[in-house]
Amino acid sequence: MQRYIIIRLIQSVFTLIGVSIIVFSLARLSGNPLDVLLPDEADDETFIRISELWGLNDPWYIQYFTFVKNASRGEFGPSFKWQGRTAMELVILHLPATLQLASISIGVSVLLAVPIGVMSAVKKGTMLDTVGKLIALLGQSLPSFWLAIVLIWIFAVQLGWFPTSGRGGFSNMVLPAVALGWFSVASFMRLTRSSMLNVLDSEYIKLARIKGLPEWKVVWKHGLKNAAIPPLTVFGAIVVGQMTGSVTIETVFAWPGVGLLALQAVNARDYQVIQAVTMFISVLFIGMNLLIDILYAYIDPRIRFN
């Protein structure tokens, strides 16, 4: 187990180094990095300050180490669009809104996807299963930004049930959470269904039935517990998928989260903020995957001896 954790840890560090190299080189690929790092209207003083911060007069390998050193301390320099704030401050400031939206939409998608997935596995081949498959297919095919606009059109403009945009009370959260969670409902449901089908075929389920356990106990206790591992493994990917998916959803709903921050930063060419957001989300993703792999190995002994 220790050996496994150490190997995964080393792998994660390599991945992190890879991400930092990509983020580092992107700003420097197109000639003079100052053209990318600074917006057109920056004055001479900021030019000098930013050159010093990133050590832009040094050779590239020293520049890279300066970048890693700064990044590991969460120092990505001052923002230009939002004067008087550093890039990292901005990310942390916008994080709660994104986390709020993501956690609600993940919670709702799990609550929806697991029962539908289980039921469509149990009632395989019936109308219910067909409906489940249809939801799964649609979930992978609907563009989320378009779904968001259609939801606004129907439920905010036509019916007037929810506000069109902004952050506020509970009613502000419904539409963005649905638009954001739609995709994860589909992928969660698909996985739950296929894993549940495998489990229901197994010997111990037959035994549980022979023992005379009530059907609901067989399905929800003995079945679901064993079927839960594959959906768990994609959980990390889905969480971070929601963080990046939030770029479009937050833009459509004017939700003041990290995604909206990222898009505004890109449009304003505020590269300090872009670097901060990209590194932050990548670190989150890598950490999440590491955690889930370790959990996975803990639950399923076959993994750690492989």
Partner: protein
């Protein structure tokens, strides 16, 4: 997603409204019959992409301000009734939506095919090399793959486009760069199991070079996986391109990319819903039928992939 052999047997002597008949019909449409998605793909993607120049009713870029915000033809109620000249209505500048969607098909098809060719070639080659040679080559390539899989997709695309500026070629480049790693991972896993088979060892004993073994003996065995993977990726690529275009980082205006059209309609959703809804439906139908085609091919060609 197993397909039962009994599905296609028509239930006899049952009234058309019976549950069994209805279920049979839905099975026919959603499970087995490739007719449905083939028709959609042809009508929405392939036919307009090839012939938009002479079959589209209007010039997709021509503005006619007198006809601006005309609703679709079936909406005759408002103070501006729909006309047969603009079947799906017009946008804010009076451009015909149907013509724009038809020309948009070409953009979607071009972007997805190019990204598929570039990303697929790079990804497959690296996957073959990584799986076949193993050891440090494998370690190196797989760490790079992990890195690319850890990148936040849309965010990275936005950054790259911010650096290089939005254009048709940037969009293709960005999408290929971000998606090759998925091919590598899948192909590598496949190669690992093929490499252990007898015929590879025998080819080596017979004196084949590594290159020959990879090209002549290993690659033909991953083609099925590749086809299925590529089909399923087309949908992803179209969605990604549309999302980028929607965010203003994909195909630049005034090109009629579907994502751009949805973005144009966003501000008018309250008064002119058709501007945003119509191109979105096109995206949905194409991606939906691509995914159905992928599922179907997977069942036919490569049942091993079902869990993916």
């Amino acid at each position: 997603m197993a397909t039962e052999g009994t599905v296609l047997q028509l239930p006899q002597r049952l009234p058309w409204y019976s549950v069994a008949r209805l279920r049979h019909l839905t099975n026919l449409i959603f499970k087995e019959y490739p007719v449905v998605w083939l028709t959609i793909l042809f009508l929405v993607l392939i036919f307009p992409a090839l012939t938009a120049d002479f079959t589209a009713p209007h010039d997709p870029l021509k503005q006619q301000l007198s006809k601006r915000l005309t609703p679709p033809v079936w909406d005759q109620t408002g103070d501006k009734p729909g006309t047969w000249s603009n079947i799906l209505g017009t946008d804010k500048q009076g451009r015909d939506i149907l013509s724009r969607i038809m020309h948009g098909s070409r953009i979607s098809l071009m972007v997805s095919l190019s990204a598929l060719a570039i990303g697929g070639t790079i990804g497959t080659t690296l996957g073959l090399v990584s799986g076949y040679f193993g050891r440090w080559v494998d370690h190196l390539i797989m760490r790079v793959v992990d890195t690319f899989l850890a990148l936040p997709l849309i965010l990275m695309a936005l950054v790259i486009v911010a650096v290089f500026g939005p254009s048709f070629y940037t969009a293709i480049g960005v999408i290929s760069v971000l998606l090759w790693s998925r091919y590598t991972r899948q192909i590598r896993a496949e190669v690992l199991s093929i490499k252990a088979l007898d015929f590879v060892a025998r080819a080596r004993v017979a004196g084949c070079s590594n290159l020959r073994i990879i090209v002549k003996h290993v690659f033909p065995n991953v083609v099925n996986t590749l086809i299925v993977l590529a089909t399923l990726q087309v949908g992803t690529v179209i969605l990604l391109e549309a999302t980028l275009s929607f965010l203003g980082a994909g195909i630049p205006r005034p090109n009629p990319a579907w994502g751009v059209m949805v973005a144009d309609g966003r501000d008018h959703i309250a008064s002119a819903w058709w501007i945003a809804v119509m191109p979105g439906l096109a995206i949905m139908f194409v991606v939906l039928s691509m995914n159905m085609m992928g599922d179907w091919l997977r069942d036919k060609l490569d049942p091993k992939l079902r869990q993916v």
